[in-house]
Subunit: 153 residues, 2 copies
């Protein structure tokens, strides 16, 4: 359980391809299979095992972030900016309807953080927290189809 990253990682084509993908799609959220598929489409095919291993390493390094989407079996990964420090002050909003991922960064969240820390003695880990809900486009779409039947979810 000690630090197994003592040996410095080699800069291989596959590893570069994965990292490049996330840098080119900073707000994209992809599954391991989607990533493998995207890399293949970009001309740099990477084996699925390697994709998982690279994802794991990048997660440990804090370069990308892993989400669990309710209702989905596969995990989702997203670029974290490479600098964990810059990503500590915003939440992620995920639409359960269309799957879009939004970044929210404002003093309202700072207030919540301060409140949770001061009053509830709880230190929120923004990196692992995702607020689930419904985004505006989906809300409108749902409202448009709400008149034709039961919609209690």
């Amino acid at each position: 359980m000690q630090d197994n990253s003592s040996g410095q990682p080699y800069r291989t084509r596959q590893r570069t391809a994965v990292l490049t993908y996330f840098r080119r799609h900073p707000s994209a959220h992809v599954t391991a299979e989607e990533l493998s598929d995207a890399l293949r489409a970009e001309g740099t095919p990477v084996g699925k095992s390697t994709v998982y291993r690279a994802l794991d390493k990048l997660c440990e390094a804090g370069i990308i972030r892993r989400f669990s989407i309710p209702g989905s079996d596969s995990a989702c990964y997203q670029y974290a900016g490479g600098d964990t420090e810059t990503c500590h002050a915003h939440f992620h909003l995920k639409c359960l309807c269309c799957g879009s991922l939004y970044h929210v960064e404002c003093e309202q969240l700072d207030a919540l953080t301060a409140h949770l820390g001061a009053r509830h003695d709880f230190s929120v880990d923004y990196a692992k927290t995702v607020l689930y809900g419904t985004c505006a486009p989906c809300r409108r779409a749902l409202a448009a189809t709400a008149g034709d039947g039961k919609n209690k979810d």
Copy 2:
């Protein structure tokens, strides 16, 4: 996607056992396997398939809630109080260190909700949102052991 619970559910021993477990352990968070194991230990063994089916039904009914714990492959379930209406106005705080689940209910969250709705046009689903972080006891424990080596996570 329509209401498939048209047939009223039967009150079986297994179903009762699952529900009873959650009512007797309102703040417990268990995986499907842990629940199956606990029920067996309590003298009412329930098949794993049945556990999954019961969990699924109870989730649909809003009686229990399903979580995805970062770093774990299996889903976690917890009692929701049986009344979904009372559970719409508070967040859940889960400690990644000890697994404790806290309920937070204050106007700070109302302010956040209003803000997200007004400024970011996003409707948060409190029932599916969990804030991850570290609770006070664990923070103290981590602080106490922070001096003896690397602890960069």
